[in-house]
């Protein structure tokens, strides 16, 4: 997956790798020049040679810095570029998903994937291109140069390097699973602490201070032990490699001594070889410390991939559009609709039949969790029906694009969500080119025109994140206004009067009725007062329609409806007595 993203930047990556190679080469050249300084300069007391090689070294240093700078310049663009592309693709993918496709992904995991996981991947790319690559070629380069200097000595290095490499990898792989234990323990501990903060009243009210402290102590103990275990293993790595490096040097010195007697090696070569050996082992040590990033990044990559490869399950089925020809009809019809939520088939319901025509007001009432909102979700094609079909203006909604459905039906959702920004911007999310006059008109309908007229900023009134500067009722009304400014055939009000007091609700509903007199309206509510004026009321209980008719009819015949009335109206009756 990453390769695909990297392709776009292949020129820059090649550039980066090229200059990184130059950087390593110049770095490797410096000890090699030192060999010459000793062998040709110092030993032959030739100051010219020293100056010559010294200048070359200076040159190498210059090349070294410049190539490093250039490679970093390319590198940062590559990593930032790939992050940008990943972020963009994730974001666009996610906001295009239907509810059905989104399934069990929570908002917080999607945010983590779009922001934190991408960050982790960019660290991985940075490490691979900057560190892993240069470390590897440094080791290889050091060995090659050693061979060029002296084959026999280099062979000693070559023997010991795999041993150390093997040891390093072994230790790291042994420690890695322990790191995931740490991660888990720390997550658990942090979660406990966070919940203590958010639930402090409950903790105190139920005298759970000691209990929480006990549980927290357990969590910290686990975190402590996991850390000690993992770190103790990893702590062995660097001293061990250093030890081997030192032993290697000693062996080389011994071999050097033996060969010095027979004059088959120069001092400069010996010194140079020792330096290359140190360099190679040092790089292996760094390498071992860095490879821990791979398993950590793999989690992130997998999570990103999971999002990017998840295809939209709700496809537009063109073939179905041919089935019906009454495309002039203006109505939404549910025909034998059956549905349950994936994956465990919760909230099951079957055989839902009803229709909503233009110019009609229909209402649904029922308990929490009875399935009312699910009906709206199906209507908006957030999910596909499992049985039966839903027709919208004579066409099966499966044959319509989401844009089209959204143009025909305006949904005013149950949970009021407002963007942070001005009130004008928020209303304009309903209608992009709405003029101030139009906005004032809808604000007046929801009885908030005066509120904003009195506000200093008027339509520039700033709504904070999560609309914390507005009350629940105000939020609901603004959400209604944003829906009202849209132009469509049908309007669905999903339990969005619940936070309004009775008199305001009445005024708002009257205004809605006036404006939308020729449209189809579906009102979903828990209050009888909200639904009683509707042309037809559907009573939903446990996923089925248990009664339908006008308020007067239902009052007489529908048991559930009667119970709802009693729960809300007992007071009025008592007063009548």
């Amino acid at each position: 997956m990453l390769l695909k993203y990297a392709k776009k930047y292949s020129k820059w990556i090649i550039g980066q790798l090229f200059f990184a190679t130059v950087w390593v080469a110049s770095q490797l050249a410096i000890p090699r020049l030192m060999v010459d300084i000793i062998d040709y300069g110092i030993l032959f007391r030739n100051m010219n040679q020293i100056m010559n090689r010294g200048l070359l070294m200076l040159l190498a240093t210059g090349v070294n810095i410049i190539s490093l700078l250039i490679s970093l310049f390319f590198l940062t663009r590559v990593t930032a570029g790939i992050s940008r592309d990943l972020r963009g693709d994730l974001f666009e993918k996610i906001i295009d998903w239907s509810k059905e496709t989104r399934g069990s992904f929570s908002n917080s995991t999607l945010i983590t994937r779009t922001v934190n996981d991408v960050k982790q991947v960019s660290i991985l790319i940075d490490m691979s291109l900057r560190k892993i690559y240069t470390l590897s070629i440094t080791v290889i380069g050091a060995i090659i140069i050693s061979f060029l200097i002296d084959v026999k000595m280099a062979a000693i290095i070559l023997v010991i390097i795999p041993v150390i490499f093997f040891l390093a990898v072994k230790l790291t792989t042994k420690a890695l699973p322990k790191y995931s234990r740490i991660r888990k323990a720390i997550d658990q501990m942090n979660q406990r602490f966070r919940e203590n903060v958010t639930g402090i009243r409950v903790v105190k009210a139920f005298n759970k201070s000691d209990y929480e402290t006990n549980m927290f102590r357990k969590a910290t103990k686990e975190a402590c032990e996991a850390n000690v275990e993992a770190e103790s293993t990893m702590m062995l790595l660097s001293p061990l490699i250093l030890f081997f490096t030192n032993i290697l040097i000693l062996i080389m010195l011994y071999a050097g001594g033996v060969r010095a007697e027979s004059a088959t090696i120069t001092i400069g070569a010996l010194v140079g070889l020792i330096e290359y050996a140190i360099m190679a082992l040092n790089n292996i040590q760094q390498f071992a410390a860095i490879i821990t990033i791979f398993p950590r990044s793999k989690v992130s990559i997998d999570r990103i991939r999971e999002v990017l490869t998840k295809e939209e399950v709700l496809q537009i089925k063109e073939a179905l559009s041919a089935l019906t020809e009454k495309s002039t009809e203006k109505a939404i019809r549910f025909e034998n609709v059956g549905f349950c939520y994936p994956p465990s088939c919760m909230g099951l319901f079957e055989n839902i039949n009803f229709e909503l025509n233009k110019g009609e007001i229909k209402a649904m009432i029922g308990s929490t969790g009875s399935g009312k909102s699910t009906i709206v979700r199906l209507m908006m094609r957030d999910y596909d029906v499992r049985q039966g079909q839903i027709n919208c203006n004579g066409q099966n909604i499966k044959s319509l694009s989401n844009e089209k459905i959204n143009q025909i039906i305006t949904h005013i959702p149950q949970t009021t969500f407002l963007f942070s920004g001005t009130i004008r911007e928020n209303i304009q999310t309903g209608k992009k080119d709405a003029t101030d006059d139009e906005i004032w008109a809808v604000l007046d309908m929801i009885q908030m025109g005066d509120f904003f007229r009195q506000a200093e900023e008027g339509l520039d009134f700033h709504i904070a994140q999560n609309a914390v500067n507005l009350s629940g009722g105000q939020k609901q009304r603004i959400s209604i206004a944003r829906g009202l400014i849209r132009e469509s055939d049908f309007y669905v009000f999903d339990d969005c009067f619940s936070a309004l007091d009775y008199s305001t609700e009445q005024k708002v509903r009257r205004a809605i009725k006036e404006k939308l007199f020729d449209k189809g309206i579906l009102v979903i509510a828990q209050r009888v007062a909200t639904v009683r004026d509707a042309d037809e009321i559907l009573v939903i209980d446990n996923g089925s329609i248990v009664g339908r008719g006008s308020h007067q009819e239902l009052e007489r015949i529908c048991k559930v409806y009667q119970e709802i009335i009693t729960s809300q109206k007992s007071l009025n009756e008592r007063e009548a007595k």
Partner: protein, 626 residues
Amino acid sequence: MIQEPDRTKEKKEEGLPGISRGAGGAGRVAGFLASGSAIDNKGTLLRLLKYIRPFKWFFITAIVLTLLASGAQIFIPRMIGNIINIITSTFQKNITLDWLTFRNSAIILIVLFIVQFLSTYFSNVLLVKMTQKLIRSMRNQMQEKLIRLTLKYFDRSSTGDMVSLLTNDLDNVANTLQTGLTSSLTAVVILIGVVIMMFSIHDVLALLAMVVIPISYLLVKYLVKKAKPIFQRNAKFTGHFSGQVEEIYNGEDIVKHYNLGDDLKAEMSVLNEGLYESEWKSSLVSFLTRPAGDLILNANYVLVAILGGYYVISGALTLGSFQAFIQYTQMLRAPFNQVLGILNTIMSALASAERIFSFLDAKETIQAGTGEIDISKTLGRIEFEQVDFGYTDELLFKNVNLKVNPGEQLAIVGTTGAGKTTLVNLLMRFYEINDGKIILDDRDTKQYHTDELRKAYAMVLQDTWLFSGTIRDNIAYGAAVSDGKDLSEVSLEDIKAAAELARADSFIERLPAGYDTVLTEGAANISQGERQLLTIARAMIKKAPIIILDEATSSVDTRTELFIQNAMQELTSNTTSFVIAHRLSTIHDADRIIVMDQGAIVEIGTHAELIGKGGRYAEMYTAGQL
């Protein structure tokens, strides 16, 4: 819709000082290097050292071992230099090698290697154990503090900031203690040792090598200062981008159903582009210190090579010493970079420690009495006697008086901010009253231990807090659990009975895993109404003589609410109850209704009485506010 991030957050008094999050390590470091921080570093450091006291033998041993290891490391190049000298003289004078001296040096070297290996390893392990234990005790201390703090503190600090103390700040301290401590010690010892060794080899060369230190320090400092605005800009862009993503994902329904997708894609792609720019610039800048340091060290290496070569030729230096010197210059590189880095991490860790300490020092104003309570004998008579209270210096309650009889059902109504929840907070003694008395049965509540007092109350709050765990455990949470036991102690029968009373049983049993269903964080996998039912069940299982319901059924439909009320009435015929509600249906059956306004009780009476009186309540009633 896409706005500049809101920067107008008020500074909260008495709460946590603002914590810059998301600024990223580099940004943080930059901040500390560039601006001499004004915190009391010395005091914080001393206090932090106090935490080490219980582990002082660990610590001292670790330091001794570190010194040993560093000492070995310093002598190793010197010994290698000796061997090279032996080889050189063999080479130059064409004589046989002095194997005896070689062997002796080699033996010393091997001993040094072993000393270095063992002491490094064991000092590291000791330090890991010490820091982990130390951090654990700090963590425990923080949690205990958290539980003891008054709610005033919570009102003034954001959740994120408090959690960040444990996650970011304590981690920061832990990392610095664990790696920073050893590496800074090693670095300093080696730095000093190397300098001494260098001067003992050749003073002019050593001076030349030293020049590097101030130059690179100044260079790095200059770069970091220059980089600060770039880091800050990147942090701001990152924060802004994630903020927008979060908002858009949360507004999923509107985004989808109002066809906002394309517009948002366009807007976000602009933001993403900006983030790209700031990201590559800031990471480039953060890498820049490296080439800068390299340049100086490499240049230094070259100069030493040339000048050193000259000295060897002129006989002022042996080849072995020259080689040792070169190794020492190389050795300078690592500790030098480390010291630079560590200085920053230590400063940042001290700042973190300071925040933790200020949290640990926060006042706990509630003075708990020692009185115990026997719930079976508690009648539930409550009296407020001339109570004054305010969240800030400004009083909200002035001279509030109220008598509640045992078994009475009291409804509390009033607009937002009238003081309804405050009344509950005071009953539970979440806050300390400024003046007056609150009496339970015949005793001033101040005489009870707060834990004892709270045994008398079962409470359901508007805010439906549930922890991540099974439904079963969440309900069991309301029951008393003996010391050291966990929630499995509570029997499933009790849990089911409580769920039934709260009418939560039917929805729980419809879930695939039933009572073992695991709630995610924030219980996002069930609806708000269902969450309320669970919190009611949790209160039901407590069987307390006094019940407090603060908007407990606001998200439950009225029909279900009625069922719950009936069930509760059966259960609690002799329980005193306080019910805060907006809905008329919830309050009309109460024995008495209290109407509150701006912290004062303005009316008391039954529904009929209050309507008849034609006061505030009647006004609210006719205005349809109930």
